[in-house]
Symmetry: C2
Subunit: 148 residues, 2 copies
DNA sequence: CTCATTGCAAAGGATTTGCACTAAT
DNA sequence: ATTAGTGCAAATCCTTTGCAATGAG
């Protein structure tokens, strides 16, 4: 299965700096790197428990930090009161659409945004570092049926 | 002084729905409505204490809720781990620039953003509700001198 | 063996809530 | 008098930290 390869980058990254390659770390990494959704720390824990690979909360948070540091995972804050994590794909920078009804997240890109934010920052005397755009709305599915 | 008039809108709003017009509420409202910065709940409390008008934390949060409900104040989340509040001015919608060094906040407008986000949302099947854009960078002041 | 990681439980920061008490109308 | 608001402390939510036990290299 190709999935095994997903955690290899993390394995390598750990070995490169003589950090222990442990089962909990690999479990979190594999789950997150193959995830198709933007997961919260709690969700990561729940999914792992469901998979029979229970990992302590502290370890989850600590591993998430390591994954973010490794650059394999990106941390997101959509103003929900907690953070979500997504695998860092090749996409250089992308924005998010968040369904305020079910929490579903979609992504999109817009190069104009990059230029626009740089110009705005400059005109205010700011040295731009990054930006964050989130569009809130109701997704297709939620617009239809009841979301019980 | 013209400042007194600032809280009148809040007074009226409260009276209209038979809600008690209390000293703590007016204190929070006056401070916030005349603020020139985006304040956090904690800052509101500190400033009030400094002014000799100490208000309990719970009351501050409860009053902030009321103020937001009244539409006189707007709540912002810049991903700092806490919320900030600003008086709702006439500006229909504006974006923010946040200095990652000192926390200074500046605002700007861009009508194109409104249109762009609506189009993007539509193309993804989302019914757009609102959006949030924050540009992070280092402000002019922080780019110079040391920020001790 | 040695040092980093793990897990649990306690600690933290921001915000909320329960409740007896006080105040607005 | 009523009814809602107030402050305090306890409680919650998400996340971090202390520490003894465990495991990777």
């Amino acid at each position: 299965m190709a999935d095994a390869g997903v955690t290899d980058r993390f394995r390598t990254w750990l070995r490169e700096r003589n950090l222990p390659v442990t089962a909990p770390r690999l479990a979190v990494a594999e789950l997150l790197l193959t995830a198709d959704r933007h997961l919260s720390a709690e969700e990561v824990g729940d999914e792992l428990t469901a998979l029979g690979t229970k990992v302590g909360t502290a370890t989850i948070y600590r591993t998430l930090d390591v994954l973010v540091e490794s650059g394999l995972v990106v941390e997101r804050d959509f103003g929900e009161g907690f953070k979500r994590f997504e695998p860092a794909r090749d996409i250089p920078h992308h924005e998010h659409l968040l369904c305020t009804s079910c929490g579903h997240v979609e992504e999109f890109q817009d190069e104009r945004l990059e230029r626009m934010t740089t110009l705005v920052a400059e005109s205010h005397g700011f040295a731009r570092q990054r930006h964050r755009l989130v569009i809130y709305g109701v997704c297709r599915d939620c617009q239809r049926g009841s979301v019980s």
